[in-house]
Amino acid sequence: MAERHTDLIVASAPHVCAPANTASIMRDVLIALIPALAVSVYVFGIRALILAVSCVIFCVFFEWLVRKIMKRDNTIGDLSAAVTGLILAFNLPVGLPIWMAAVGCLIAIVVVKQLFGGLGQNFANPAIVGRIALFIGFASPMATWVINSKMSPAIMAVAEVDAVTGATPLGLLAAGQQVPSNLEMFLGLISGSMGEISAAALILGGIYLIVRKVISPAIPVSFLATVAVLSLVFGLDPIFQLCAGGVMLGAIFMATDYVTSPITTSGRIIFGIGCGLFTMLIRVYASYPEGVSFAILLMNILTPHIDRLTRHKAFKPAPEGGAAK
């Protein structure tokens, strides 16, 4: 007589699942950010690492604290807070006082994410709102760029005149001064927010994410293509525009945030085009030299409408009469 088993687990099909889970996806994003972090530490020195680590710690701490206060399950294990922290750090100037960074983390995690119910329920990207709030709230410290001898001579040239402000490549362009060469821009030997300087390292991370199927190329490609095309339309150097400011960081790591971008591929393409369009409009016309975060925030806000318009229709036969055509 065969052995009897009467206490088997009964669960709904499917009984197998794909390997990726939320934490593994977030881990992949963290891995993809490492090259840019490395370049940043090389260019700016140890202070970049300190800023990055503090942002991660603050974000994780705030996440833990607020979940504790709200008496909800703790979710720091899904690593999403760590990702937000690192991306926020990438959006800050290296010299920013740590307490200001902490305010940014507080806004990102507590206000933008947890007040709306936590992961998956926020409508705006936490890191972007954190950055914009700091950018507007602490306008002067957020535009104080650290410069040193590792950077392009074009940036060093201005340093002698004005040692603190207006020394990002976009700032130089706006002021009509000599800008760094495209190679320097691509490699990241420039000033700027700590994580956004090296297009090369960010692209490397982006390729990793696309290969690992963490992100779909729809948003980055449409975003970058729009920026390039509009640069030509406005008579600007597309390579410079792509490598300058937060375009690469935004297109690869912030606009692709699942929660706040459209869910369908067609929606994602519209989203990317919108991001590129508003980025260039703000760069060319508005009083701020950089518009990536505002553009992405605006598209975040438009995402529910894009989702509504690009809704998939179920697979079904054409209705009677329609088929006769």
Binding site: L115, F123, V129, I132, S293, L297, P304
Partner: protein, 199 residues
């Protein structure tokens, strides 16, 4: 007036001086009627409609009636009465002659009397010393700005309405935080129109 100036007035009323998100006018309907896209759009169209007509009526009253007779201080009383009467008349007119439009806009009209954006735009047109055409453009732009804000916010609310909020933030509180984030993105466009139109 040049075409650039026309666009500048309209666009700045829509974007950089958005009535809802930067001047805090018309917050009540912005919070109250933005839950569903249909109602939000209906309300906004009614607002544009009334704003333009109210300006068309109040501007001449101020310029040709109140100011010449030295009773400019009666502005507030006269304007609010004119707007209230106007809304009533529009409603009666629509009901009688364009029932279809009345059906879709009718329910929003009574709410508009107390919408501070209407009185606000009429008073601001006078305060800013706009001419008649400028006033009309500004009113139209302000109305469209209201529509834009409602449109954006209705989308946001459709996404977050059923979220699992912390107890204290359920209801109006979370809606206001969402409005805060929405208004944040409008700041990015500051200075844009001045640069485009060389103002």
């Amino acid at each position: 007036m040049s075409a650039a100036a026309v666009f500048y007035i309209v666009l700045s009323a829509i974007i950089t001086n958005n009535y809802v998100l930067s001047k805090f006018l018309g917050i009540c309907p912005f919070l109250g009627v933005s839950k569903k896209l249909n109602s939000a759009m209906g309300m906004s169209i009614a607002v544009i409609f009334v704003m333009v007509i109210a300006t068309a009526v109040t501007w001449p009253i101020q310029t040709y009636l109140l100011t010449p007779n030295g009773i400019g201080y009666m502005q507030t009383i006269i304007f609010i009465l004119v707007i209230a009467a106007l809304v009533q008349m529009i409603e009666i007119f629509l009901k009688k002659y364009i029932p279809a439009l009345h059906k879709s806009l009718g329910i929003y009209l009574p709410l508009i009397t107390t919408n501070c954006a209407i009185l606000g735009v009429c008073v601001l047109n006078i305060d800013n010393g706009y001419g008649f055409l400028q006033s009309m453009l500004n009113s139209f732009g302000s109305g469209v700005g209201f529509l834009l804000a409602m449109f954006l916010f209705a989308g946001v609310r459709s996404k977050i309405e059923t979220n699992d909020y912390p107890e204290a933030f359920k209801g109006v509180a979370s809606t206001l935080i969402a409005a805060s984030i929405t208004s944040l993105c409008f700041l990015g466009f500051s200075g844009m129109l001045e640069n485009i139109f060389g103002m």
